[in-house]
């Protein structure tokens, strides 16, 4: 994304350097999710060996036997940047209904503050994964689960009875069972009752589930 032309000069401006580091850290994080991170691949992707070596000197990463590992500070930054990137993707897909979002997500990840990040996360209802299915690293706000902003993507338990809603995602182990009757992301459901149990209509079926299960179904009201 940045400086792919293969120049091998040190990065002069501090802003450029910051962005390069973010890109590199995110790349390493993503590669690590699939397995080990080879230095050769990182250099090939980012095209700037000396800048990477500088990151090692700055204590962000460690390079051992041609493989790249995170140093403590680097790992924390990588986690944050990945989280922001994936939250941005979720925002674009779930709320804004965009299909081309990758490059904007890359830009937004450098630009937002922790406050904004937490607000988006809460707005989306603390989603567990990005649209590609990769996990979103949890943030502080996810742990406390405060819902000060009423999210557009909400739990079924938070929508009004009688509303039609499209399922956005389903968290936890219940999705296996729900998917066997066709209740999956994309399905349209109608919340018929909240008490004494949650009654949900899907196509020509009606199912009853308890609150605990209903809390795991995230929808967007349509």
């Amino acid at each position: 994304m940045y400086n792919r032309e293969g120049s091998d000069k040190p990065l002069s401006s501090p802003i450029d350097k910051g962005i390069f580091e973010d890109e590199a850290l995110q790349l390493i994080w993503e590669t690590r999710e699939k397995g080990e991170v080879k230095l050769e691949d990182v250099i090939k992707e980012l095209g700037n060996r000396s800048a990477i070596e500088e990151m090692e000197r700055d204590g962000l990463i460690k390079i051992k036997e041609e493989k790249v590992y995170f140093a403590e500070e680097g790992e924390k930054r990588a986690r944050d940047i990945t989280r922001r990137h994936r939250l941005a993707e979720r925002l674009f897909v779930d709320v804004l209904d965009l299909t081309e979002f990758e490059s904007d997500a890359c830009k937004i990840e450098h630009a937002i503050s922790t406050e904004v990040e937490e607000a988006i996360c809460t707005f989306l209802g603390h989603p567990p994964s990005c649209p590609h299915g990769k996990p979103i690293p949890r943030g502080r706000c996810c742990a406390t689960y405060t819902q000060k902003v009423r999210p557009l993507v909400q739990r079924v338990t938070d929508i009004t009875v009688g509303k039609l809603a499209r399922v956005v995602f389903i968290a936890g182990t219940i999705m296996e069972r729900l998917s066997s009757i066709g209740l999956v992301p994309g399905a349209i459901i109608k919340l018929q009752q909240k008490s004494p149990s949650y009654i949900i209509g899907i196509e020509e079926m009606t199912i009853a589930i308890d609150e605990e299960m209903a809390r795991g179904i995230f929808v967007r009201v349509i």
Binding site: G133, I174, L178, I181, Q193, P196, S197, I209, D210
Partner: protein, 656 residues
């Protein structure tokens, strides 16, 4: 762990297996194909046992197998496992997938799985009338083209389309289904398939089960594969799962749903549904957070009027007092006395503890009318689709006992017969729920016969007595359930229940079902009644009865404050609780029990040990250890509650 192993079906005839989602009418179709009755109801999961029946097709005999409903062939509960295992072991000439025409997508998800298994299939779209009422039309010709199998529309309740279905058994075909899974998953399927042995269903489908982490498959794998190969399977599964953030079973389901949705979109036409449906209105009211409660009370009142007043009152009076008391018993006494001159035999047949005067009078004069009216009421409830709605209303209360609303079906059925209900606990998903429900059934749920006798005894005293009895039993159940939920290990199960539409019960089905259940009940009850009477007769003859009464008197007389003769009723209660209650009824009619004693003795006998048949069923379902443990807890517990109640009522000087 007490497992229900599915064994290969014996017999030479070729097999036709019925498979389908819950509550789509498999048992109704089974009945139409074989002429044999299997319990049909409007409650998902009624079939917990596999039924077999014969049909002849152009002079050839076929064995038809009815299976418990499945949502997925990767089992989530024990009854789903039964169905999957049948497909795994049997090699049928045809599988008929019975389905609900109005839920095509869901139907197709199962069709796709059966296609992956490679079984010869016919697709039966049942309840075509309900689909039409909702404005849904299915282009079956196109569906046949896409799937490459015969697709037959039927309305089982009106016997429509059955002949077509019979004919289609001649031409089952393996459905053409191509599902594209993630390339990584496809690779792993190949790897796993290479390790698997030859089976009756495709290796591909077994590989998918392995990847889904299907624990219930272990048994089969252990029987057919070497240990190191199974370990290798586990390894591949774990490796694969590590590469995906979501459970693989979910990804697999998602891929199937996509295909099912595409097909459904191609063949389904929607128009405006017929409006203003009264049954839909009843359906909504009956589970409404506010209106649901008066509706429930109305239903209970109706049942009370029919079973309690009409069955236990009018019919019992007619049969017991008039038919038996005035005619049959005096005749029997006369006939026996003239024909058999041996006094001891006379006494055995028509004496105080006589087989005719006691056992048969109880069985036919008291128990039969109550049981019959209860089972009629239950069948109507079941077929109307009200029971799942009751489950919703009761969910919260059941949570206190570590159960969820799903346990309502066995619990309500227990009011008919605890033994039957104990078997039905199989519809519950976890062993923990099954054990708690079985325990509570054995402890606190009086069966219809017992209930009828109890209500018959309480009614003449006062409403207050009935409320105290019901309150004590209910409180005991909640308390015992609460304790059990703390003690029995395991996790709380999710509450997930499909709500079928409200339907008008069909008289014929209600009758057939009631007759079946009453027959079952009598076969189980009458021999025990006779046995119980014999035991009493022998004890009485040998003067052991007085001896037993003396032994039990510290508990019965002092702790419970009851006359010594009630010991007889408790002895009968070991064989059947309802018989014990009937014994109490006789005492109370003889003016030997005060109202307070009636209430205390009834609470005690209600909680008393499960009857012999129920006990045997608990052993069958849960094993000897659990059964003995339960009986060991329940027996002292019943007396403890009775004693405490006696103390409280006397201390507070409650008047009835």
């Amino acid at each position: 762990m007490h497992e229900h192993k599915v064994k290969k079906i014996k017999g030479q005839h070729e097999r036709v297996i019925l498979v389908g989602n819950p509550n789509v009418g498999k048992s109704a179709i089974f009945g139409l194909l074989t002429g044999k009755y299997a319990t049909v109801s409007n409650y998902p999961g009624t079939t917990v046992e596999v039924s077999y029946g014969n049909m002849s097709l152009d002079g050839k005999r076929l064995l038809v197998v009815d299976t418990p409903g499945v949502n997925n062939l990767i089992p989530m509960s024990e009854d789903e496992k039964v169905t999957r295992d049948i497909l795994l072991i049997e090699r049928p000439v045809a599988v008929i997938q019975v389905s609900d025409a109005k839920n095509l997508k869901r139907t197709l998800m199962l069709t796709l799985q059966l296609g992956e298994m490679g079984v010869p299939l016919v697709l039966n779209l049942n309840m075509e009338d309900e689909a039409r009422d909702r404005g849904l039309t299915i282009d079956t010709r196109k569906l046949e083209e896409i799937l490459g199998i015969k697709t037959i529309l039927t309305i089982a309740t009106q016997k429509k389309g059955i002949n077509h279905l019979r004919e289609s058994i001649h031409v089952p075909k393996i459905p053409v289904t191509k599902i594209d899974y993630d390339p990584v998953i496809e690779d792993q399927i190949e790897k796993i398939s290479a390790l698997l042995p030859e089976a009756n269903i495709s290796r591909h489908s077994i590989a998918l089960m392995v990847l889904s982490g299907d624990e219930s498959l272990k048994e089969w794998l252990n029987a057919h594969m070497k240990e190191e190969d199974i370990e290798r399977l586990e390894q591949i599964k774990d490796e694969t799962q590590a590469r995906f953030p979501a459970p693989i079973s979910y990804l697999i389901n998602q891929a199937r749903i996509r295909v099912a949705e595409n097909i459904a979109n191609m063949v389904l036409k929607k128009s405006l549904p017929k409006g203003g449906n009264i049954s839909a209105l009843i359906g909504r009211i009956s589970m409404h957070p506010v209106w649901g409660i008066p509706f429930l009370l109305l239903v209970l009142y109706g049942i009370y009027q029919f079973v309690g007043i009409f069955g236990a009152g009018t019919l019992v009076d007619l049969l017991e007092e008039t038919v038996f008391g005035k005619y049959l018993n005096p005749w029997a006494v006369k006939i026996v006395k003239t024909l058999i001159p041996v006094p001891i035999l006379q006494e055995l047949l028509v004496g105080e503890y006589g087989i005719f005067t006691m056992a048969l009078t109880y069985a036919i004069g008291i128990i039969l009318p109550i049981t019959t009216t209860f089972f009629i009421a239950f069948a109507i409830l079941e077929d109307s689709g009200y029971l799942p709605r009751l489950a919703i209303m009761a969910n919260r209360i059941f949570n206190v006992m570590g159960l969820n609303g799903k346990a309502v079906l066995p619990m309500v059925l227990g009011l008919g017969c605890d033994t039957m209900a104990t078997m039905t606990t199989r519809i519950l998903e976890t062993r923990r729920e099954r054990i708690i429900t079985t325990f509570l059934l054995a402890l606190a749920i009086p069966c219809s016969a017992q209930l009828g006798v109890i209500l018959g005894m309480l009614a003449p005293i006062s409403g207050k007595a009935t409320v105290i009895w019901a309150g004590s039993v209910f409180a005991t159940m909640l308390f015992a359930g609460f304790l059990a939920s703390k003690v029995v290990p395991g996790e709380k199960a999710d509450f997930f229940l499909e709500i079928p539409p409200i339907r008008l019960p069909q008289a014929m089905n209600v009758i057939v079902k009631t007759v079946g259940r009453v027959e079952w009940y009598l076969k189980e009850a009458v021999p025990l009644f006779i046995l119980g009477t014999l035991v009493l007769f022998v004890l009485n003859k040998l003067d052991l009865l007085i001896y037993l009464e003396r032994i039990a008197s510290p508990v019965v007389v002092e702790f419970l404050g009851l006359p010594a003769k009630t010991t007889e009723a408790f002895i009968l209660g070991f064989l059947r609780r309802d018989y014990g209650a009937a014994g109490l009824l006789a005492l109370s009619r003889g003016g030997m029990l005060s109202p307070l004693q009636v209430v205390v003795s009834l609470v005690t006998i209600t909680l008393f040990v499960p009857c012999l048949a129920n006990f045997l069923m608990i052993i069958k379902e849960q094993g000897m250890k659990v059964a003995l443990l339960m009986a060991g807890i329940i027996f002292p517990f019943a007396f403890l509650v009775g004693g405490v109640l006696n103390f409280v009522l006397r201390t507070l000087e409650i008047q009835f």
